[in-house]
Symmetry: C2
Subunit: 428 residues, 2 copies
């Protein structure tokens, strides 16, 4: 019998039959999959068995370690400052990384943000930044290190060397219905963050209609697993569970989210974006041992904005250039007067995606100017005949499907809804 | 989004989340998989979800119908005789098809046996017959029909046209740990038997250490599902649950099993082989409306042997030629006197396989002369120093691993074991 295949089947059978995988089984299967010795159809069967039968904590820890071992590890210990990073599980209008990274850097902690591009209804940080004229996402490790020392913050594309096993497995899970497994989500996120070499980490675990995790129980479980993984690996890790039933801020798109982020850095911007940015900054500073600094001060005194501009310029972007504007717009008018009682994050996210702000496949381009602006948030009064949404795209044929996504995603009523907290819980 | 992939994920998610698949989902996924539009890694994830979450009866019926629809259907309605077939889920020393097909034909019912080759510890009917000098397994549909009319029985290789979806799926399940799912086993077997066009069918569902199904509950469940599938498709179907904790007869191999089958056709042979052959023949005759004939008579009067010789000759074999003999043999001696209390089917099957009687991969050759002969069955007295097993192979290097397989697979004690029935139950 072909020995490697025989072993792959053994590992699949063990998990299928509800057993714990041994350390050596995990090490072997992750390594053999990365090398192409375990076939995609075998790994997808294993992923489904993991999704349905679960994994114990020590299996997840070992799986994460095996994914880290599949590639290179970065090391920022030679920097003159401590490091801290943030990861969000993905939400609609979630531009928080943009103001957060320069804000934390302005507080004296270096932020090495390796980011990704968007897929589906949640946007990608790199897609947003690429709407800034000239800005480039790809940096060498040396460029990244130099920028961290000189500017204090860098947001760039993760190189191919970090956790290649995860890259391969993530693409497979995407087409085989095996994305929503907590052991696989947690190990995917944490393998990259641990390999990245950050000293402290805060996880923004989103909960609600526009998030991956629809209920608090599963979101808390994911947060606990990830915090344990980070802590075990020597990364000071905490997590905030934050609400994603309503989209963040007033914009979902690319250039329009950059503009909103710049408002926040200028001391203004939507209250929820400011609140979450400051809350996450406090966690990162505490993790890096700098909880003596109040990040709110650094927004008020303009120092976060200074770091932002330096950060954009260091990656060949022009922070003062005009941002791209969509060629076409369509305004949705409030049909009655009252209070906006509901605004569904998923409806808005799908609309922005269908307008061209996001992509369906990895290789698709995105439109810099596309997206959705909403002119009220739940609890705000609206007047019949005034604009409720502005839809933006370069291709007017996209309006119909975007409008269909928004349909049923909002309500106007007589009374203000009960306000729900943005930060639901803290883990770690 | 790529529409076909999107649909594959939809189907996977439905089964993953414990929902029933709709008729159109089943039709689509089986057809798209056959055409290569659904990828192997998607089908293996779906197979694992089916294995762990199960399928309702009507889903299995529809899945089976979709597999039948993936290829051609045969039609024996123009024959002058009714047809009946048998399928065994696979056991050690299971040569029953060899005496059974000519026996039933001698009773006036045509037997169109499309068989397979062996994989792993259970032998294959075609491998056994190919040890007869000159015999060929491949027939055209016209040759098969002519032989059924003239001889009344044919055992040949299933063509590629029958249920190609099953062929593809079976190979996938084999390497992805998804073989042991009752819905997939039942639909795999029954799609081929229904497409084959037999009028009646008896299923020999093996139970015990040497079988696929280790316990009676699961074997009965499989039998019930298959009987329902056959009945719904208009095939008069019954099933016998039969014991496979002990191997059948006194031989496991290829030529040695042919020789044992010829003994049965000559009116002798081991009692258990005779018992099971006659029991299955009665089921087939009843299904074909010929329960007025007693198959035991046709063994006694030599008419089954006549059909056997005609059947072998019709496929270019010489029924009177000497069968191949292994070049090397090794005898295991009884260490003490007493009664053989246990003989494990799996141990014997693995030993025969390791001696070269079976194959590890589809493309491997088998040795015609290799196998295991046991000189006692449980309950038989044995004498210290007399032969207990004879191991046969062309390659003496194989003896060590075969002996290791047998080790612990048998016991000699002072008292005879409690006899267990060969036919455990009947379903249908």
């Amino acid at each position: 019998m072909n020995r490697p295949l025989h072993d792959a089947v053994e590992v699949i059978l063990a998990k299928r039959d509800g057993l714990e995988l041994s350390d050596s089984q995990i090490d072997w299967v992750v390594d053999a999959y990365t090398r192409g010795e375990v076939a995609d159809e075998q790994m997808s069967a294993l992923a489904m068995a993991i999704l349905l039968n679960g994994m114990e904590r020590h299996e997840i820890t070992r799986w994460t370690a095996a994914m880290i071992a599949s590639g290179e590890r970065m090391d920022f210990s030679s920097l003159s400052r401590p490091t801290a990073d943030k990861h969000s599980t993905g939400g609609v209008g979630d531009k928080i990384t943009l103001p957060l990274a320069p804000l934390v850097a302005a507080c004296g902690v270096a932020v090495p943000q390796l980011s990704g591009r968007g897929l589906g209804h949640t946007g990608g940080t790199l897609d947003k930044l690429e709407s800034i004229p000239g800005w480039r996402a790809a940096l060498t490790n040396d460029e990244m290190m130099a920028q961290l020392e000189s500017v204090g913050a860098v947001i760039c594309a993760a190189g191919d060397g970090l956790a290649p096993a995860d890259k391969k497995l993530y693409a497979l899970r995407d087409v085989t219905g095996t994305v929503e497994a907590i052991p696989l989500i947690a190990s995917s996120i944490m393998s990259k963050k641990i390999a990245e070499g950050t000293g402290a980490l805060v996880l923004d675990v989103k909960v609600g209609s526009g998030a991956f995790m629809k209920d608090v129980t599963r979101a808390r479980e994911l947060a606990e697993v990830m915090v344990a993984l980070g802590t075990d690996a020597g990364v000071r890790t905490t997590a905030l569970l934050t609400d994603m039933s309503v989209p963040l801020g007033l914009t979902a798109g690319n250039a329009i989210e950059v503009a909103e982020s710049v408002e926040v850095l200028a001391g203004g911007g939507p209250a929820d974006v400011v609140e979450l940015t400051v809350a996450l900054a406090r966690e990162m500073l505490a993790g890096a041992g700098r909880d003596d600094v109040d990040p709110a001060d650094k927004l008020a005194d303009g120092s976060a904005m200074d770091v932002w501009k330096a950060m954009v310029r260091a990656q060949d972007g022009d922070p003062d250039a005009a941002l791209p504007v969509a060629r076409e717009s369509h305004v949705v008018i409030a049909p009655i007067s009252g209070v906006l009682t509901r605004l569904d994050a998923m409806a808005v996210g799908l609309a922005a995606w269908r307008l061209g702000a996001g992509r369906a496949r990895k290789e698709d381009p995105v439109q810099a100017g596309a997206g959705v602006v909403w002119h009220a948030r739940p609890g705000d009064a609206v007047t019949a005949g005034s604009p409720l949404f502005t839809l933006l795209t370069d291709e007017p044929a996209r309006f119909d499907r975007a409008l269909a996504s928004l349909d049923g995603g909002w309500e106007i009523g007589p009374d203000a809804p009960v306000a729900s907290p943005l930060v639901i819980d803290r883990v770690g």
